[in-house]
Amino acid sequence: MENQEEHQAEGVGRPGRPGRPGSNPEAVTARIRARFGDASVRDGNAVGCESVIAERDALLPFMTFLRDDPELTFDYLADVTAVDRLKLDEAVRFAVVYQLYSYKHNRRFSVSIPVPEADPRIQSVVSVWPGANWLEREVYDMYGIVFEGHPDLRRILMPDDFGSYPLRKDYPLHGKGERDNFVF
């Protein structure tokens, strides 16, 4: 019962079916705007769950808020991935995407952070969700985006001496000769 009252708290979920998609679709974004200001995030375009586009500057306080705020409690980082929008009509080439889930409220949320090609760096969120460790390594391996503050930023799938970032859209499918000239 106590739990249900919690779900009824200002704009989050609805009794009995907490956090189902469609039960107040703007709840998380409203909560973020109430805390960080109206201009802090833009509406995202994820399909199937609420999402925002945020800036990379104050990433750690932002993510920590998502995790610790009692009405949000995104205690599970389901995935970190990235998008290369090379041929799309986007000003900033890359975006790092965080898929969050709250066990408490049974709700999903997606955060997209644009990362420019000229300076592909972003804060690591390992200190917020330790599970980000290997996920960020994979993004680094595939896209060459550097996660600052990561405890062990090495390639995770490709060999250590692999010189390229294969999921970048300008990387050719057959590679640049790596498969014929690798070291034994």
């Binding site: 294969p166 590679g175 498969r179 690798f182 034994f184």
Partner: protein
């Protein structure tokens, strides 16, 4: 009067090569290098329905030092190829290699940056099995081809 007449039916004369080849070909000890879906089909070949034991090759060894037949079944990436090479090098002579499936033989449909386009670029292959995956009958046929080859090999 020949030697056979004196020894009668208790003893048979032959050549060392033929006898050793006969023994070897009927007790191949395969080392499975299963990296993908083909390995599942290899397991099916070993299990009761197809029963590779009928061909004397049921003693699967997971140590290369105890095996004489390497079965490469699955995709081999450029990160995995040094491992495969090392395993091949660790197998004692004489040794034979089956390249099972399209991926191991040619890269298969994975004509991509990370996949070795045929393991025969780096280790010698005796028999290739086409298919994706090959059926157990194909694997058995490949084993019989290896047996023919083993029977003809020199003993030393």
């Amino acid at each position: 009067m020949g030697l056979e007449d004196q020894l009668q039916e208790n003893v048979m004369t032959t050549k060392v090569d033929a006898m050793v080849g006969w023994a070897r070909k009927n007790s191949l000890w395969p080392m499975p290098f299963g990296t993908a879906c083909c390995a599942i089909e290899l397991m099916a070949t070993l299990a009761s329905r197809f029963d590779l034991a009928r061909f004397g090759a049921e003693a699967i060894r997971f140590s290369p030092r105890q095996s004489d037949l390497l079965v490469v079944s699955g995709r081999v990436s450029i990160k995995m190829m040094p491992v495969l090479k090392k395993i091949y090098d660790q197998m004692p002579e004489p040794k034979w290699v089956i390249s099972m499936g399209a991926c191991a033989s040619s890269g298969g449909v994975f004509n991509t940056y990370t996949l070795v386009q045929g393991v025969d670029q780096y280790i010698p292959v005796d028999v290739y099995i086409p298919g994706c995956p090959p059926r157990p009958e194909n694997v058995i046929q490949a084993l019989m081809k290896i047996q023919e080859k083993v029977a003809q090999a020199k003993a030393n």
